[in-house]
């Protein structure tokens, strides 16, 4: 099995196990963001450019979601 396939399998396991084990959607989205960043770092050399681009855009979107989650949490604490 090629390194690229190992990385994709790792990512799939990360996503699926996280989906089952994490009870909250907001925490899961953060976990997905971490997973994508790990995969981008590990797979910088092995993943094709189109996949890296897709993952990068997903990470940008999840960063915005993460910012909303943090802002809501801060709002809850302050409020």
């Amino acid at each position: 099995m090629a390194v690229r396939d190992f990385i994709i399998v790792f990512f799939a396991l990360w996503l699926l196990l996280g989906a089952v084990l994490v009870p909250s959607v907001s925490v899961y989205l953060t976990l997905v963001l971490i997973g994508i960043l790990i995969v981008l770092e590990l797979g910088d050399f092995y993943l094709p450019n189109s996949t890296k681009e897709t993952l990068k855009y997903s990470a940008y979107m999840l960063l915005i979601v993460f910012a909303f989650i943090v802002a809501r949490r801060v709002w809850e604490i302050v409020g």
Binding site: A2, V3, R4, I8, F11, A12, L15, L16, G18, A19, V20, V22, P23, S24, V25, Y28, L29, V32, I36, D44, F45, Y46, P48, N49, S50, T51, E53, T54, L55, S58
Partner: protein, 231 residues
């Protein structure tokens, strides 16, 4: 297969997300998001396989040089030459046999098929990338293999091509580089990284081995000494 798998996972993802939202079950929503992201990743892999190395701009160039090399049939190991007075853009020399005297003083920009049976490719493939890296990072001559190759790899990254790593070992240099057109040292990305190694060390390098692994090449280089030694 990957395309339909990708669409299936995306469809399943939307369904699970919807079902999770309706029933208030967060595990379904999470699985829906996971399925959606995996579907997108699978689709991107399919897209890459179908557009990967079919760039109409660069393939004929690589093919032409491969055919030229086959016809000229030099049997020596290729030698990467850094830029110097006679060849200000460096080059890749294919000597007629191993241990053939290189004689940098005889080379110039005008020759391709040389009298002694060597084949000289100058400017080397990917020279434009090295020039771009030089404009961004300054003169790369003699700055060290690590710095020069990093500058060129960064330039390749900016162009959305190539990618790789260079390892300096005790008596050799190992280059791992993702080719952009063809698995050959005539590929622009591969050529640019090879010249950057020679440029950074201001030394000639002999290409000892080239291995094709997935979508990248592993190239082992052996230093042959500085330009002065071969003049």
């Amino acid at each position: 297969m990957k395309r339909w798998g990708g669409f299936f996972l995306m469809g399943l993802g939307f369904l699970l997300w919807y079902a999770g939202g309706r029933s208030g079950n967060s595990a379904y929503v999470n699985l829906g998001i996971a399925s959606l992201i995996l579907g997108i990743v699978l689709l991107s892999l399919f897209y890459d396989e179908n557009t990967g190395d079919s760039s109409p701009l660069c393939s004929p160039y690589c093919d032409f040089l491969e055919r030229l090399l086959r016809d000229a049939n030099p049997r020596g190991k290729p030698v990467v030459i850094p830029p110097y007075e006679n060849l200000p853009e460096g080059g890749i020399l294919f000597p007629p046999r191993d241990n053939h005297p290189i004689g940098l003083g005889r080379l110039d920009r005008n020759g391709v098929l040389l009298q002694d049976g060597s084949l000289l490719v100058s400017p080397p493939p990917g020279w434009g990338v090295v020039k771009m890296a030089t404009e961004n990072a300054g003169d790369l001559s003699g700055v060290g293999v690590g710095y020069a190759s990093s500058a060129v790899l960064a330039a390749l990254n900016t162009l959305g091509a190539g990618g790789g790593e260079v390892f300096e070992l005790e008596d050799s240099v190992e280059v791992y580089v993702r080719y952009s057109c063809a698995p050959s040292i005539f590929d622009p990305a591969v050529g640019a990284v090879l010249v950057s190694v020679a440029l950074g060390a201001r030394s000639l390098y002999s290409v000892e081995s080239v291995e094709h692994r997935n979508d990248h090449l592993r190239i082992e280089l052996r230093p042959l000494g500085g330009i002065e030694r071969w003049l």
